[in-house]
């Protein structure tokens, strides 16, 4: 601090310099924001995958998922087999006025029937309209982006790891077999 007033002048200079700079405002409705794929905007339902296991509804910390279903008999696939029954989804609704956007339902789903979508433009004038029924939730599915690639240092997904293990085992097995065969060949000749 050199003298009285230098701080004032420094401040005035900052605002003066910014006067000429471009604004950083994103003019939202005209310029839609670019959201990363992990963005938690809205939950989409891939209805076909849902088996009505109710795990999502039970895990939800704010009880905002409503599921109704009934059992239906499915004609046996093979002749003479027993008739089987499956759960048919009647209603799947998420009340976004209650939802805390934690994503536990999506984690809990064992069949990947729920996905995050970065869409966020579903404000309503009536709070009741914030309860999205399954048709609407199914529509969101079209907006679900592909997940981002992972960091090179990330552990391989367990599918790859198991597949690799299996492949290695198979390779080892076939190698052993081949070795045996050559040995056999050798023995034969």
């Amino acid at each position: 601090m050199s003298s009285w007033g230098s701080g004032l002048i420094r401040g005035l200079r900052v605002t003066w310099q910014n006067l000429a700079r471009r604004s950083v405002t994103a003019q939202y409705p005209d310029a839609p924001p670019e959201l990363p794929p992990r963005s938690r905007g809205v939950i989409a339902l891939f209805e076909e995958n849902c088996t009505v296991c109710m795990l999502c509804a039970r895990e939800c910390p704010c009880w905002c998922i409503y599921i109704d279903s009934h059992k239906e008999a499915v004609p046996p696939v093979e002749e003479g087999a027993r008739e089987r029954s499956t759960n048919v989804l009647d209603r799947f609704a998420i009340d976004y006025s209650l939802c805390m956007y934690c994503g536990i339902c999506i984690e809990a789903c064992p069949f990947d029937a729920l996905e995050w979508s970065p869409e966020f433009e579903y404000a309503e004038l009536d709070i009741r309209d914030l309860t999205h029924e399954k048709d609407r939730l199914r529509e969101w599915m079209w907006t679900v982006p592909a997940p981002p690639g992972l960091d090179p240092a990330a552990a391989e997904p367990k599918e790859i790891a198991t597949a690799q293990k299996a492949a290695e085992k198979a390779a080892a097995a076939s190698q052993g077999q081949a070795a045996e065969e050559t040995r056999d060949d050798g023995g034969g000749s």
Binding site: L8, V14, D151
Partner: protein, 399 residues
């Protein structure tokens, strides 16, 4: 609204409140103290804190913080949520330091389970916690000047926040409530190229933060309003359990990152990246300066974490958890250095899916408790300067 009638002589009688009720004849020269309710809806309380202030003219003779307008019973809710659901709630009491609050919960559970967290997760957690700290401090670096009437710094602060929030959103999907911690690590691994973008964001923020400093920190009016105002002595700090940047601004050299290290902080402290700075004056100005200082330390720490994450070998970022996670019977206390101060969780488990009790010690509650001591004798304008410099989040007070 109740009015306190204080019998006395002229303006000097004000310092007198509460004593003279028996003496003196009523009538004569009477002054009336005015009771002013600051809040629960007042622009300076950013939230619903209410201060019941007794004024003599513009001078404060008494102050009573009335809390609880935003009480959500979070400790009771914790008892009926499993450990994944608790994270959702834990990041909501202090919405400006969501990541650090999550961290306390998962660390407590991990300690109970005796679980080892993968190294990459430890460094990523440290990185995110420090970015969260910078985000939190930037908020107050913007909101404090606005309470003093300078309207511009908050926009600069929000530009920086936006830069950081973008990378936070990219990794976690959330801009405030990250919900990214899990027991045993993080929810997902880092996206490809995220480290580059994170370090670019950190560099951009480091480049532009000095603008806030130039704009306001050396300003003579700002100095006049904050120097020597709201001084808190170290004794008062320890008496009320004030912690975090406020305590350090008063010269209380206490930082859990260094004094009871967790995450990757011991290593960072060894490398000398983690610097714990303390102020001397304990006034509003040094508290504000403390935030500026901590932002730059946080950015350094973030850079160190990014560098480390780049060099770490391939590995997982979380532990495989059982379907049903039960903490073994017992109790533990886990405290972390949240941006606003000490955030502690006392976890008592009876071996069930949910904790039997999870006590939350939040920083803001204690930080605000000291207000009546500090405010007495100030003028209304000082009250705003002091209140703003106590850096609190109402959700963190009321839980």
């Amino acid at each position: 609204m109740a009015e306190e009638r204080v019998v006395g002589v002229g303006a000097g009688a004000a310092g007198f409140g509460g004593y003279d009720r028996g003496g003196g004849e009523p009538g004569g020269l009477a002054t009336q103290d005015m009771v002013l309710n600051i809040g629960p809806q007042h622009p300076a309380t950013h939230g619903v804190l209410r201060l019941r202030i007794t004024l003599d003219g513009e001078r404060i003779v008494g102050c009573e913080p009335i809390v609880g307008y935003m009480h959500r019973g979070v400790e009771k809710l914790f008892e009926v949520r499993d450990y994944r659901q608790i994270i959702v709630l834990a990041n909501r009491h202090d919405w400006l330091s969501a990541f650090s609050s999550e961290l306390g919960v998962v660390m407590a559970v991990e300690r109970m389970l005796g679980m080892e967290v993968p190294e990459r997760a430890v460094w990523a957690r440290t990185l995110l916690a420090e970015m969260n700290r910078a985000l939190n401090h930037l908020m107050f670096l913007g909101s404090y000047p606005i309470e003093l009437g300078a309207i511009t710094p908050i926009f600069y602060a929000f530009r920086e926040r936006e830069t950081l929030q973008q990378v936070m959103e990219e990794i976690s999907g959330g801009r405030m409530h990250y919900m990214f911690n899990r027991v045993g690590g993080l929810k997902e691994d880092l996206p490809a190229g995220w480290l580059d973008r994170a370090s670019a964001a950190v560099a951009a923020v480091r480049r532009r933060v000095p603008q806030i400093e130039d704009l306001i920190f050396g300003n003579e009016i700002f100095l006049a309003r904050t120097r020597g105002v709201g001084t808190i002595s170290p004794e008062l700090i320890s008496a009320y359990g004030v912690s975090g940047p406020i305590a350090r601004a008063s010269g209380v050299d206490f930082d859990l990152r260094r004094d009871e290290p967790y995450l990757a902080y011991p290593e960072l402290a060894e490398e000398g990246v983690l610097r714990v700075t303390t102020g001397e004056d304990g006034d509003c100005h040094s508290r504000f300066g403390m935030l500026l200082e901590q932002v730059s330390v946080s950015l350094d720490l973030a850079d160190a974490c990014i560098a480390r994450l780049r060099s770490l070998p391939q590995g997982p970022i979380n532990q495989r958890l059982p379907k049903i996670l039960k903490a073994p019977e017992g109790a533990t206390y886990c405290w972390t250095e949240n941006p606003l101060g000490i955030n502690g969780y006392y976890l008592v488990s009876r071996g069930e899916k949910t904790p039997w009790r999870l006590k939350l010690r939040s920083a803001s509650f204690n930080n605000i408790a000291v207000l009546p001591e500090v405010l007495r004798g100030c003028v209304v304008a000082d009250m705003i300067a002091i209140l703003g410099s106590m850096f609190f989040v109402v959700g963190d007070i009321d839980k």
